[in-house]
């Protein structure tokens, strides 16, 4: 009888100790999760513009970690949350680097592309005055070049507007497509393609 009572008491005490150990992780887990949330919130403003998929993945992982906290899996939270904080910091750093790269690309293209467009326009204007086209160039080729010039001009205007609106990703993407088209038109006109349009 006494043995049963002692066993029962020992079991109760052991269970209480285990519960206490588990709940002692709760505070640190909540703190770690909060730090991760703050790091992600701090990073996502800029990072969303340049790396939206990575931001979504990070937020998804954060949601999963919150779920673990709500289920009392504090050890898992203590393991996951610092990694999330670290990833958020890496993301912020990568986004800043990407932004600087895009700004440089735009700076180069916005300085150089107008000259390319002007060169194409000049040649198209002159050829349009010609009574006979140069050897190896047909009227159809010239028409294609004119259509290409029109497309380039429109797309370049759109790229400039995107840049003015603060959307560097869009500006650079549009400018890059202008580069490709300009290279095609220069080739049609038998003009040299500058190095910057070859990359």
């Amino acid at each position: 009888m006494h043995r049963h009572i002692y066993s029962f008491i020992i079991t109760i005490v052991a269970a209480a100790l285990i519960a206490a150990c588990g709940s002692s992780d709760k505070g640190p887990a909540e703190t770690a999760l909060k730090a991760a949330e703050e790091a992600i919130n701090s990073a996502k403003g800029e990072a969303s513009k340049y790396m939206p998929d990575q931001v979504k993945a990070l937020e998804s992982s954060l949601a999963a970690t919150r779920e673990k906290l709500s289920k009392g899996d504090f050890k898992a939270v203590l393991s996951d949350a610092p990694a999330l904080t670290s990833k958020a910091q890496e993301l912020a750093s990568a986004a800043a680097k990407k932004k600087a790269e895009l700004a440089k690309s735009w700076e180069d293209m916005s300085a150089g592309m107008p000259k390319v467009v002007e060169a194409i326009k000049s040649r198209v204007d002159i050829l349009s005055q010609s009574k006979k086209l140069p050897a190896g160039m047909s009227a159809e080729t010239l028409a294609q070049a004119k259509a290409g010039l029109s497309e380039i001009t429109q797309q370049w205007t759109a790229a400039t507007e995107a840049s003015k609106g603060g959307n560097l990703m869009d500006a650079v993407a549009k400018a890059s497509s202008v580069k490709v088209k300009a290279a095609e038109v220069l080739t049609l006109l038998k003009m040299p393609v500058p190095e910057a349009l070859k990359s």
Binding site: Q54, E101, G112, I126, P134, L186, A196
Partner: protein, 84 residues
């Protein structure tokens, strides 16, 4: 590498910064000027025919090269002319 490929958090490698040696300075790399080196026996008329199909358009070439040409009838072998 396979692990990194499947990692949704993977921060993509942005790649190296612009290779200035390869592309030259920002402005030069976009220079689309067409140049023609004058050969023996050429005239602005002939050069205009070559590039425009019409010799009558030679004044376009002359105007673009006023810094090196004083007279459209006098061009020298080896001169480098801009072809607008």
């Amino acid at each position: 590498m396979a692990e990194k490929k499947n990692d949704p958090w993977a921060i993509p490698d942005i790649g190296p910064a612009t290779d200035e040696k390869k592309s030259g300075s920002g402005a030069d790399a976009f220079d689309a000027t067409q140049w023609h080196e004058v050969k023996k026996g050429e005239t602005l008329w002939k050069i205009a025919e070559q590039y425009y199909g019409d010799g009558n358009l030679y004044p376009k070439i002359f105007d673009a090269n006023r810094d090196v040409l004083k007279d459209p009838n006098r061009i020298n072998v080896g001169q480098k002319l801009r072809i607008p």
